[in-house]
C-alpha cells in the first residue's frame, strides 16, 4: 500500500498552513493589553480543544455507523472501527495539548498551573473516559467484539463530553468565555479585536485540517497493521518458521 499522492499533498498543505497560522499568531495578531504575550497561547489552546471535541464526536459517530453496518457487512464495518480508534487516539493527544497550553496560560494569569475549577476538572475527566476506552479495547481479544464494545463505549462516553463543554455555563467558574458573555468571577477574559478574531478563526480551520491529515495517517497505519497481521497468520498456516 503506497502512500497516495493526495495524502502527501495534504501533508505539505498542512505543514504550510501550520507555519502560516503560527506566523499569524506571532506577527499578525496584536498583543493583548493586559496579559501580553502569554495570551497568544489562546489561539492554539482553543483550536486544540476544538479538535479534541471533534475527534470524540467522530469516534461516537463512527461507533453508531459501525453498530448499524456490522449487521449487514462485518468486513466493511471494520473500516469504521479503525476510524473510531484513530479519532480517539488523536483526540486524546489534542485534549492533552489543550490542558497543557491552558496550564501554561494559567500560571501567570491565575497564578497557578492548576486549579480545581469545574471546567479544568471535567476536561481531564473527559481524557480519562477515553483512557478507559483504550483499556477496554486492550482487555478484549476477539477483534469483532473489541470493535463492538469500543463502539458502544465511544457512544456512551461522548455523553459526558457535552457536559464538559457546558459545565462552563452551569457552574460558577473562573475560566473565561471568549465567545459569549462572561460570568462575574471569570479571570483573564478579554474582548477580541478583528485581527485577533481572524487569527482565531484561521487557527481553528488549520487545526481542523491538521486533524484530517493525522486521522488519515492513523487510519492508513491501522489498515497496514491489519494487513501485517493477516500475512503473519497466512505465513504461519503455511508452516513458516
Amino acid at each position: 500500500m503506497d502512500r497516495s499522492k493526495a495524502l502527501t499533498t495534504l501533508d505539505i498543505v498542512t505543514g504550510l498552513l501550520m507555519a502560516g497560522a503560527t506566523a499569524m499568531v506571532f506577527f499578525y495578531a496584536p498583543l493583548e493589553a493586559v496579559m501580553g504575550e502569554v495570551q497568544k497561547v489562546f489561539y492554539f489552546h482553543v483550536a486544540a480543544g476544538w479538535v479534541g471535541m471533534l475527534s470524540f464526536l467522530v469516534a461516537a459517530a463512527c461507533g453508531v455507523i459501525y453498530l448499524v453496518s456490522a449487521r449487514k457487512d462485518p468486513l466493511k464495518a471494520v473500516y469504521w472501527d479503525r476510524v473510531a480508534v484513530a479519532a480517539v487516539e488523536i483526540g486524546m493527544v489534542f485534549a492533552f495539548i489543550n490542558i497543557v497550553t491552558g496550564a501554561i496560560w494559567a500560571r501567570p494569569i491565575w497564578n497557578t498551573w492548576w486549579t480545581w475549577d469545574p471546567r479544568l476538572t471535567t476536561a481531564t475527566i473527559m481524557e480519562l473516559v477515553y483512557a478507559a476506552y483504550l483499556m477496554l479495547r486492550q482487555g478484549i481479544d476477539d477483534p469483532e467484539k473489541r470493535a463492538r464494545f469500543g463502539a458502544v463505549y465511544a457512544i456512551i462516553g461522548f455523553m459526558s463530553v457535552p457536559f464538559t463543554f457546558f459545565s462552563i455555563r452551569i457552574f460558577r467558574t473562573i475560566h473565561p468565555i471568549v465567545i459569549g458573555t462572561n460570568e462575574a468571577g471569570a479571570m483573564g477574559a478579554f474582548d477580541m479585536t478583528p485581527k485577533m478574531a481572524q487569527t482565531f478563526i484561521v487557527s481553528l480551520v488549520v487545526f481542523s485540517v491538521l486533524f484530517v491529515d493525522v486521522l488519515w495517517h492513523r487510519i492508513r497505519l491501522a489498515a497496514l497493521a491489519d494487513k501485517v497481521e493477516q500475512l503473519k497468520l497466512q505465513w504461519e498456516s503455511q508452516g513458516g518458521e
Binding site: L67, M135, G139, K145, R148
Partner: protein, 227 residues
C-alpha cells in the same frame, strides 16, 4: 398491546429471578453493606469527621460509599450470569434483549436502594444527624437510577473482558461523573437546607442524565450481549 405486556412481564421475571436468588444466597447485599459500612468507618479516620467538618462532607462521603458499594453489586450481578453460563441461557430465551437489560437494571437498583435504606439510618445514628429528608431520598433515587442504568450496561461489557473486575470502576466512574456530581451537589443542598432554587438545577441535571443513560443503554444493550 399484548406484545407490550409480554415485554414488561419478561422484564419483571428477570428482576424477580435476581431478587429470589439474592433472597436465598444474600451474597450481594451482605457484601455491599459490609463494604459500605467499612468505607464510612475509613472515612471517619481519614477525614476526622468532627461535627463541624461533617455537615459539609456528609453528601460526599455518602455518595462515594454508594458508588463504591454499587460497583461491587454491579460486578457481582453480571459476573454470576457470565460464569455459570446463565447469560447464554437468558439470551436463548425468546425474550427481547432490552427486557433483559431493564430487568437486570431494576434488580440492581433495588439492591442499591436497599443498601442506602440501611446505611442512612446507621449514618444518622453514628453521627447524630438527621438524614431522613424527603429531598435527600429523592436525590438518592434519581442518582441511583442513573448510576445503575449506565453501570449495568458497562458491567455487562466488563465481565466479558480479560481484566474484568478491574475494568468496571475504570469504565464506570468517568462516565458516571455527571450523575455523581449532580447527586453530591443536590444532596448537600438538601442537607444544608438551601433554598430550592439553588438545588433545582442539579436535580434537572440528574433527571436529564437519567433519561439519557437509560435510553442510550436501552438501545445499545443488544450489541453488548450479541454472540
Amino acid at each position: 398491546m399484548r406484545e407490550n405486556t409480554r415485554f414488561w412481564r419478561s422484564m419483571l421475571a428477570i428482576t424477580w429471578k435476581d431478587l429470589a436468588l439474592e433472597w436465598r444466597s444474600r451474597e450481594i447485599l451482605t457484601a455491599m453493606l459490609v463494604f459500605a459500612l467499612l468505607v464510612i468507618f475509613i472515612f471517619n479516620y481519614a477525614l476526622e469527621l468532627t461535627p463541624q467538618t461533617r455537615s459539609e462532607v456528609t453528601a460526599g462521603v455518602l455518595w462515594v460509599t454508594f458508588a463504591f458499594a454499587g460497583t461491587l453489586g454491579l460486578n457481582r450481578s453480571l459476573s454470576v450470569e457470565k460464569d455459570r453460563g446463565c447469560l447464554d441461557g437468558l439470551l436463548l430465551a425468546p425474550v427481547d434483549r432490552s427486557a433483559i437489560y431493564l430487568g437486570k437494571t431494576l434488580a440492581n437498583l433495588i439492591f442499591m436502594l436497599v443498601v442506602a435504606a440501611i446505611v442512612l439510618p446507621i449514618y444518622s445514628l453514628l453521627y447524630n444527624t438527621n438524614l431522613f429528608l424527603p429531598g435527600l431520598a429523592l436525590v438518592i433515587l434519581l442518582g441511583a437510577i442513573g448510576y445503575v442504568a449506565v453501570g449495568t450496561l458497562l458491567s455487562s461489557m466488563a465481565v466479558q473482558a480479560r481484566t474484568r473486575d478491574m475494568l468496571l470502576p475504570v469504565l464506570l466512574f468517568p462516565i458516571a461523573i455527571p450523575i455523581l456530581l449532580a447527586a453530591v451537589k443536590a444532596s448537600s443542598g438538601f442537607l444544608q437546607a438551601l433554598p430550592f432554587e439553588e438545588i433545582s438545577p442539579w436535580l434537572n441535571l440528574l433527571v436529564v442524565y437519567d433519561v439519557i443513560f437509560i435510553s442510550v443503554s436501552f438501545m445499545v444493550f443488544e450489541f453488548v450481549v450479541e454472540e
